[in-house]
């Protein structure tokens, strides 16, 4: 673990609070970028929560990542409105531009991780992607190259 001190501070904030496991995992994931096996074991030892329970929660919710991620996260909206407006061709083009094969989600240089998401709630701007905190709407496969260049 790279950020042991920060992680200790975070864990201590949540110890003894009821229902704290999910926000605790969200917070430590924010620090380390993902939930490694080592990190989950560490949280388990520190909090006395069974590792199986932590693993169960971590694998249930889509926000938790068990693999390292790239510098920027690209969320591709796969909601209904985006689907009917061509989200699939956006995804195809992204995979081509970033040279990702079907089972890969992170570029070789660790710059981008592509995650399909259920709905970003900006349906009137469909199709939509979100890179980190910035949302880009009314996309066409052709407009993607220019957007990626900003990062």
């Amino acid at each position: 673990m790279k950020f042991k001190t920060e992680i200790d501070i975070t864990i201590n904030k949540f110890i003894g609070k009821k229902g704290a496991l999910i926000p605790l995992l969200q917070n430590v994931q924010d620090i380390e970028g993902y939930l490694s096996k080592e990190l989950m074991s560490y949280v388990s030892n520190k909090t006395g929560t069974k590792l199986a329970h932590i693993y169960g929660v971590a694998t249930f919710y889509t926000m938790f990542r068990l693999k390292p991620k790239g510098k920027h996260i690209i969320r591709v909206c796969k909601g209904t409105a985006c689907h009917v407006s061509g989200a699939n061709s956006i995804m195809d083009k992204l995979n081509i531009l970033l040279e990702l094969s079907d089972d890969e989600d992170t570029t070789k240089d660790w710059k981008f991780t592509v995650i399909p998401v259920a709905c970003l709630g900006c349906c009137s701007l469909s199709p939509v992607i979100m890179i980190d905190d910035n949302t880009y709407g009314k996309l066409t496969p052709d407009s993607l190259g220019k957007i990626l260049k900003k990062y």
Binding site: P23, V57, K78, T80, V84, D92
Partner: protein
């Protein structure tokens, strides 16, 4: 002359560039010393024309401008100042005749009454619009029983989808004897294609909080949770600010408004699981567990969060409460039909002209919602279907457009009202593909507890994939219906019980499309990739090379000014060449 400029800074506005517009306005008025008050507001609902800017002056009528950019805003402001507004960007103004702004005229805004009007993070703005007066009335002039009776009389039903009477739900929680009770606001809006709750939370967070405080007082809860999905960072930010402001002013905390009523409110961020919209799963998630539903009874009103009586309402339901308390149940129940009172907020999306957020009285026919309020189709392709209620809902065909918006009428069609997502589709959408899309979603989101939901949806999806690849058999259609029936009967929660709806409704209203995939091996809409092929017509191709340049997999070959050719083995059928060809030389078949 002084005037006010409001900029819509909700998520969709920001995504369209409203932040830059806001900065440009501030800079322009400062540099030119224009006497104007620049204010931030949230979603006014006309998302199709974002970024939106409203300019109002006391002595003149207000104008809402759409498609504003940092480049044209200076001209818009100066022209308004001179009294000769820029016409081409006007989306709505009081000058326009009724027929021209049906989008607004036919709406009744109760839930959205403050959205896009006030600054959502200013409690003074909210107080200026009768904010927290409903709470004052409820605490000082009404008993707990009075409040519950008032909500019962209003006829308000749960806006999360199922339509359970809200007053009755409160009555159950009120009647449960316990020292400790909870109230929860379900803001885990997981339906793809729906953004009503996000807009309400971003645009008028105090209204939802006030509704929650009144509910807590009525049922006797002293602690509450707002369970909001983490994908809505702006909504969470506004809620946090609003909770802090309400606490500072004494609307939250101990001895609220001098009474003996205490109420503490927490925000809980969801971690991404559609099933957590189901109330027992949502509570498991708040408790820090995997969000899996549990058997009811006991209902949450008897044993909910941490085993205590709990009342759960959806965002839109709670956003109705203050209006009902202020204006009375009688006034509220004037809107709507016999069994569905009040209004309903819909998120219009897809191939509709005026996509955005609207609120209409219950009882309005779908045709009016889509063609008058929504402005009709966006493209010149004709209407094909409308999807209501997200993954739990269904697709209705053109013949069903006279169905009115109320719980019972929509249920009869096989769709559901759901939370309010309404995705309009034209002939470029394939209904088999849409059914596959939703089943893929529910199959992924099934928590896995019930076998029929876990395995049954998987089997249904496999059949749909088979059909969309041209390998389906006619018996598959019966098998789909049989599996659907078993999944509905054999699932514990709403996710499984409604998961087959998109398949059943498309089978009911668009059966010929399934048959075309199975018998003719054709996808009439040209969507299912295995059944389409792009070809270049030799006579029409001029060899301009545009298609070859656009092709992402470089499978089109040919010299300049020579006929081009598509290598079918390499083609991924993305359609980029088809869209790019200016000579109609590429056909999709």
């Amino acid at each position: 002359m002084s005037f006010v400029i409001k900029v819509g800074l909700a998520s969709c506005g920001l995504a369209a560039g409203a932040g830059e517009v806001y900065d440009a306005i501030v800079k322009h008025v400062k540099n030119n010393k224009i006497d104007v008050d620049v204010k931030k507001t949230a979603c006014i609902g006309m998302c199709f024309a974002e970024p939106l800017v409203e300019i109002l002056a006391e002595d003149r009528k207000s104008i809402i401008y759409g498609n504003v950019t940092p480049d044209n805003i200076a001209e818009i402001i100066d022209a308004y100042d001179k009294g000769t507004p820029v016409e081409e960007n006007i989306i709505l103004s009081n000058k326009l005749k009724g027929s021209e702004n049906k989008t607004f005229k036919k709406q009744t805004r109760i839930v959205l009454r403050n959205c896009g009007i006030i600054d959502p993070v200013s409690i003074d703005d909210y107080l200026g619009n009768r904010g927290y007066q409903a709470l004052e009335k409820a605490l000082k002039k009404m008993s707990r029983e009075d409040i519950i009776q008032e909500i019962k009389n209003s006829g308000l039903r749960g806006r999360g989808g199922a339509g359970f009477p809200t007053g009755l739900k409160w009555q159950f929680a009120y009647s449960s004897k316990s020292e400790k009770k909870y109230i929860i606001c379900n803001a885990d809006e997981g339906d793809p294609g729906a953004f009503m709750d996000r807009s309400v939370l971003e645009g008028d967070p105090h209204n939802v909080i006030e509704g929650m405080i009144i509910g807590a007082y009525a049922i006797g809860a002293d602690e509450g949770y707002l369970y909001c999905r983490a994908e809505y960072p702006l909504a969470i930010k506004h809620l946090k600010i609003a909770i802090q402001q309400a606490t500072e002013k004494g609307y939250l905390g101990k001895n609220i408004l001098g009474s003996d009523f205490n109420f503490e409110l927490h925000i809980k961020e969801g971690a991404g699981a559609f099933v957590c919209g189901e109330e027992t799963a949502l509570m498991a998630s708040i408790e820090g567990k995997r969000g899996m539903p549990s058997i009811r009874p006991p209902f949450p009103a008897q044993s909910g969060l941490w085993g205590k009586p709990t009342n759960i309402n959806n965002v839109e339901t709670l956003a109705n409460i203050t209006w009902i308390i202020l204006n009375g149940a009688k006034e509220y129940s004037k809107y709507g039909t016999e069994k569905s009172k009040g209004t309903k907020v819909f998120a219009l999306a897809g191939k509709i002209k005026n996509s955005g957020l609207i609120e209409v009285p219950m009882g309005m026919p779908l045709r009016e919602v889509i063609y008058d309020v929504g402005g009709g189709m966006k493209t010149d392709k004709p209407f094909k279907g409308v999807q209501l209620g997200g993954p739990s809902g269904g697709c209705l065909s053109a013949e069903m457009l006279d169905t009115i918006v109320d719980y019972d009428s929509i249920n009869k069609t096989g769709a559901i009202m759901g939370s309010g997502g309404m995705v309009v589709m034209d002939t470029s959408s394939c209904m088999v593909d849409i059914a596959k899309f939703f089943l893929n979603f529910t199959q992924n989101e099934s928590c896995g507890k019930c076998t029929f939901c876990r395995v049954g949806t998987k089997r249904m999806l496999e059949i749909l994939i088979r059909i969309s690849e041209g390998n389906g058999k006619m018996e598959d259609l019966d098998k789909l219906e049989e599996l659907a029936d078993n999944i509905i009967k054999g699932s514990l929660c709403g996710l499984g019980q409604t998961a087959p709806n998109p398949v059943l409704t498309t089978l009911k209203y668009f059966k010929e499309e399934y048959i075309a995939h199975i018998k003719d091996k054709k996808c009439p809409a040209g969507v299912c990739k295995a059944l389409i092929k792009f070809e270049i017509i030799e006579d029409k191709c001029v060899g301009c090379t545009v298609c070859a340049m656009k092709c992402p997999v470089k499978c089109i070959s040919g010299e300049r000014k020579q006929v081009h050719k598509i290598d079918q083995d390499l083609c991924i059928k993305c359609g980029a060449c088809y869209d790019a060809c200016k000579f109609d030389a590429i056909i999709k078949g």
